[in-house]
Symmetry: C2
Subunit: 250 residues, 2 copies
DNA sequence: TGAGTGCAGTATGTATACATCCATCGCTCT
DNA sequence: AGAGCGATGGATGTATACATACTGCACTCA
């Protein structure tokens, strides 16, 4: 399917949503800046109706904030907001892991997760780790987390996790790439991978509390990466999500 | 302000949203039933544009589900979904309580909460408890939970709690009224009020783990009420939210 | 000179007409 | 008779015109 076809096949609403999200995450629309519908029409090239829907969707997503008198503005986040969002995700993923452990999962449904675990092992075994390997790690890591959440077999929970992870700075892979520029990179990756191993083991042995605790701690690696990267001001361009930070904290 | 003025002052979108939500919760729109835009136009009396926005909002709220080929259907929930949603809320409220405890709150900001606690004490002291007192309890209980969540001082967390609590069967007060018809009513209310007391004490003493644990357990009272009420089939009309249950489990 | 009011411009809220896509039903051909 | 294709009805997706509400500025009056 050519790119042209792909562009034709998706709705104007989705196209507008993608274009506006890109503008926000790339920082071309600054935090706290009001974004009018007409402006959005200019940007996206579609008419007001789909633009409106796209704006509403982006508000749901958490990237925009409704103005009481009407209209939307780009949401501004503090560093604290970001850290809380990461803790929030960790808490929810912890709940998912506990559900999986307490309710039990079949050996069959655990198989893809173990396979994914093995693939990740291969990647982190390299020393030093290439940039390509880091990139592959991001993909595989996202897959691991998705599989894990599904094991909870709880639609309401998965829905909320997806929602929280949609915030670009709260997803499990948000700061892995930034990490690639840190001297502690390899060590943190090894620790993270050990968390993965532990949670699978805990689920297999029906140790709910252990599974929950390790997933919570796991999310704190992301928080640690974020803080390190901000403090060192290393490779901020690897973390486009930080365009949403309130300017003072940037 | 007269009712007419009030009706005039809110947007058509909100009016449509309220009307449709009412139809869903009252069971006039059955779970898994497709709801077309034109049908919604007939129901609400407003045009397609605001109806569409209302449908999108209701999807976000979790009452509707998007159909891949377009349009929406009323979401159907299993009893397990409901129990999971309650556990989810408890987990999030637990996190809020822990944040409040660990980060510390001023004596001044704790005051409204304690006042609310005192009011609740007055209400549960009656024996037997009148229906009016139950109703007042529902209101005051919602206020207590709202104040508690605010003490977390975490906008992202409060946002998620509000979202989860918007599901009619997941809110802290969802099954309190149903409880009024149970023989165990007074006892459960006293236990719940003791949870309230403990969490305030824990926050005051910066006992994060205790605050978190008690709020989690607190939510399980709602789960217990739900199960009791369903098993006894007592006063199902007090729980309109159950209109969303998949028919087999009803 | 300051405050209040009114007007103009521009934004969003709403309705509707048009385009497009999908799904279903019926017909035809093998 | 069954399967596949085509047509038709009805749904959603989109664009735009119109109504209305808000905001900011200027002018006037105290």
């Amino acid at each position: 399917m050519s790119e042209r076809d792909a562009e034709r096949s998706v709705s104007q609403t989705v196209r507008a949503q993608l274009a506006l999200r890109d503008m926000i995450l790339s920082g071309r629309l600054r935090p706290s800046e009001r974004i009018s519908e007409l402006q959005a029409v200019d940007i996206t090239g579609v008419s007001r109706t789909p633009v409106r829907l796209a704006l509403v969707r982006l508000e749901d997503e958490g990237l925009l904030q409704a103005i009481p008198s009407g209209g939307f503005m780009v949401k501004a986040f503090t560093e604290r907001d970001i850290l809380d969002s990461i803790e929030l995700r960790g808490t929810l993923e912890g709940l998912a892991a506990r559900f999986a452990a307490e309710r039990g999962v079949s050996a069959r449904s655990l198989e893809p997760l173990k396979e994914c675990l093995g693939d990740l092992d291969q990647l982190v075994r390299q020393d030093p780790i290439s940039v390509e390997a880091f990139s592959a790690y991001v993909t595989m890591n996202a897959r691991f987390h998705a599989l894990l959440n599904e094991l909870s077999a709880s639609a309401p929970l998965i829905r909320e996790i997806d929602r929280v992870s949609a915030l670009p700075f709260a997803s499990p892979s948000a700061f892995v790439m930034a990490q690639s520029a840190l001297p502690e990179a390899h060590q943190i990756l090894l620790v993270g991978q050990d968390h993965h191993r532990i949670v699978v083991d805990a689920i297999e042995n029906r140790e709910g509390a252990r599974a929950e605790a390790v997933m919570r701690e796991h999310s704190r690696l992301a928080a640690r990466n974020l803080r390190l990267a901000i403090r060192n001001r290393t490779h901020l361009e690897l973390m486009p999500a930080l365009a949403l930070l309130k300017s003072s904290a940037e």
